[in-house]
Symmetry: C2
């Protein structure tokens, strides 16, 4: 089934969004710009830290979830943006070589009361590593166009 409009999303539905491999280079590049703490930017200092090596910024992990969400779902839908997220949780560290898979589960859908052309979808996003461990989860709200009459 192709998911495009608000009406195509149903509470309980889960969608696999693909996977992404974290590398030392991508971890360091992100962190130098957005989270320059030594456990994210300096392999040697990170090795001596309680983490035992480089770990990804949690904000990079959130960004990778967004990337997989765009590639695996949003890019093919009539998406109208997001007002925000809740309960963004970083549950396990992410190391170079880890491959994270993303999944989104629709929690609730409802038409907008103020803007009849859009619907509101609340979802849970999850990122799981190659060992099956949940490393990140987030609850998001997204807006989607309603299906036009005749489509």
């Amino acid at each position: 089934m192709s998911i495009r409009y608000f009406e195509d999303m149903v509470a309980g539905q889960s969608i696999e969004l693909g996977s992404y491999e974290f590398t030392s280079d991508s971890i360091i590049a992100f962190a130098r710009e957005y989270d320059p703490q030594p456990m994210h930017t300096d392999a040697e200092q990170a090795r001596l830290s309680p983490y035992g090596g480089l770990i990804a910024s949690g904000w990079q992990t959130a960004g990778v979830y967004m990337r997989l969400l765009v590639d695996g779902l949003l890019g093919h839908t009539e998406s109208l943006g997001s007002p925000g997220v809740d309960q963004l949780r970083w549950l396990k560290p992410v190391h170079p070589g880890d491959v994270l898979s993303a999944r989104i589960t629709v929690l609730e859908t409802r038409p907008s009361e103020t803007r009849p052309e859009r619907g509101i979808v609340r979802s849970r996003g999850e990122m799981v590593n190659q060992d099956g461990e949940l490393v990140m989860q987030v609850e998001a709200v997204n807006f989607f166009s309603r299906r036009p009459l005749g489509d």
Copy 2:
């Protein structure tokens, strides 16, 4: 006053964290990697969209908040990471040339019940643009080392 340990943070305290100018280049570079939607990656398509031009990914705005938080506070403290955030809200679009200033306000501090060497700080982060408009806010939890005896 120099803020380093958990004990140096007090509910009600606000700290200015500095500012950051968003450019077309940084907006596009971030979005190509982490949020490849046309309003973030393609100036021409963005011009024809309801936004009237490029806007930054909300995840980049969150990343910039983190960068300012590291440079303006965390990098000088005994920070022990974060389990996550709540109520991350994107309130206004961010355009190229916008200069956002970040501020953190301590909402609550308490010693950890399970790990006596750390304390828990709940905060509100805010990003305000050059017109004084609140464009992003977030509630975060961070862990900090407690002050060692004699320090």
